[in-house]
């Protein structure tokens, strides 16, 4: 009855947009990664793996990859664990829970760049509140320069800014999953003598596993492609550089478009492969009980 043209008419704007501005560019990136593309120095030539070899000969690029691995590990672990803790704390209904949830979501809704500027002031070496608070609590003897000196401290502190932004997303998704767990499971466990901790490991955790998988993949994609926070808090210094920042520098500051394409292709492949791997490992629907 509704065959014919209607579905294709409804879909045509979508297909035009996604086709022209997602699929064509993705294919373009894949192809151009194997060409020497430099707008200041034409013509474009096929170079095979030349772009990739040049990239990995540069210590700035290899540093950026190792750094990005750090961003991902810290980002995924912290955001999923914190998201679970927040979801568990907010699972039970109480007065003001709605308002508290709305406030908890706030960091997710604000621009990452603005948040990074705020955190750069919090981390400020001379007047930052982090120094002040830690000093008042006698946890540090004097004020520290937090960013730009120690590589892994810089990476951890920058990633905390991203974790602060993305954790609300995990918390909401996990909270929704917790609330969909059938209650008779907890009742049965209680009858069998299980305490709250056992209930969490034996019931809640298996039941929210799909939600944890979704959160893991979301955190993975976001932290692998971290840019805004690094741009503001680290600048373009190699010390805390990420792959996305390196792609930006390679392409738009060094005008080596071929190198930029190659980096884009690699980070895209890494994101897709790791996402699929994480889903395959983690995403298991709870078995029917």
């Amino acid at each position: 009855m509704f065959g014919g043209a209607l579905p294709y008419i409804l879909l045509s704007p979508l297909v035009v947009f996604i086709g022209a501005l997602s699929f064509v560019p993705t294919v373009d990136t894949t192809v151009e990664a194997f060409f020497r593309v430099s707008p200041l120095n034409p013509p474009t030539q096929f170079t095979g793996l030349g772009n990739f070899r040049a990239l990995f000969a540069s210590s700035a690029v290899t540093t950026a990859w190792v750094n990005t691995a750090g961003y991902v590990v810290i980002g995924v672990v912290l955001s999923v664990v914190l998201g679970t803790v927040i979801a568990l704390a907010l699972r039970q209904r109480f007065r003001f829970r709605g308002i508290i949830l709305a406030l908890v979501i706030l960091p997710w809704a604000l621009p990452a760049v603005v948040e990074a500027v705020v955190w750069s002031w919090i981390y400020d070496p001379t007047f930052g509140v982090m120094n002040s608070a830690l000093h008042s609590a006698h946890l540090i003897g004097g004020y520290h320069v937090w960013l730009g000196l120690d590589r892994w401290l810089t990476i951890a502190l920058i990633e905390i800014v991203q974790v602060w932004q993305i954790t609300p997303l995990s918390a909401i998704v996990i909270l929704a999953a917790l609330q969909s767990v059938p209650l008779d499971l907890y009742e049965a466990a209680r009858v069998d003598g299980a305490g709250p901790v056992q209930s969490f490991w034996r019931i809640s955790l298996p039941m929210i596993r799909p939600a944890l998988a979704v959160c893991t993949v979301e955190a993975l994609v976001l932290s692998l492609n971290i840019f805004d926070q690094v741009y503001i808090l680290n600048g373009i210094a190699p010390l805390g550089s990420s792959v996305m920042l390196q792609t930006y520098v390679t392409t738009f500051q060094n005008l080596n478009f071929g190198g930029g394409y190659a980096l884009s292709l690699l980070i895209t492949l890494a994101t897709a492969l790791l996402s699929v791997a994480a889903l395959a490992l983690l995403y298991r629907r709870p078995e029917a009980v």
Binding site: L6, P25, A89, V104, L110, V114, I122, P196, P210
Partner: protein, 308 residues
Amino acid sequence: MASAGSTGRTSRAVTRMAAGPAGRALSGRPARALGRIVAIVVILLWSLFPIYWALNTSLTTQSGANSAPAHYFPSPLVSASYRAVFGIGGAGNGISGQLGRSLLNSVVESGAAMVITVVIAILAAYAFARLQFRFKRIIFVSVLATLLLPAYATLIPLYRIMASLSLVNTYLAVILVYVSGFLPLAIWILYNYFNTIPPELEEAAFVDGASPARALLQVVIPVAMPGIAAAAIIAFLLGWAQFLFPLILTTDLSTQPVTVIVAALDQQRIVPFTLLMACGVIAAAVPGVLALVLNRYIVQGVTAGSVK
């Protein structure tokens, strides 16, 4: 939040059961309640302290902000930063013009991207949810697969496409790129929402002789308003937060959104943090207020389909 109302009864039951045997002991209950209050205070501190800190700094003087140890309340309390960034009293120092124009650019770019995204997504999601046609599955899966790809995979080619069309530094370039990026998520949200609407609603309209287009407009869209609101607010927030795409697609104040201007002020390294925080608070106020007022739509949108 979206599900709170419908699961109110069950949640109370959870409260009773999750307390478990320990919760039954007379001494257990207050301890657990206290534990929960402490947990919630810590969560709120973590979530809100940086926002409070930006407000605190924006409401004091430079010497008030540059004090060690830090003042945890604005002292002295002044509105000078806001007067300066709004250009009141002639103390504009150029920031007010940049901030005002970039806020307008953000409104235009995120607003237009939101409207176009939602319209296209409604049409497509309706087709995916309700109609049968060839290649449906492969188109659907290909569109959603782009959710697993980083947005920046297309950064360089999109820049070159816009450059070759002479669209760099136009609203159009920014809006087109946003729409292509936000469509998959909007479609996912709306597809899930349409699937919760009983088909009988439209069938009744068809019996009355309505066309599918009319059924969509007059029956489905009014019922799907919460889902549409969720897709719209999320698209707007995503647009407002964009930084890297406008950083390369815009080159001057005629199109630069507020994120690019705040980053540029920060990079100058001479703008005092009191002014930077005031700019940050203003740039964050629009999405902040939207998120607080419309948070149940956000919750509903980001959990769409994720718990199935």
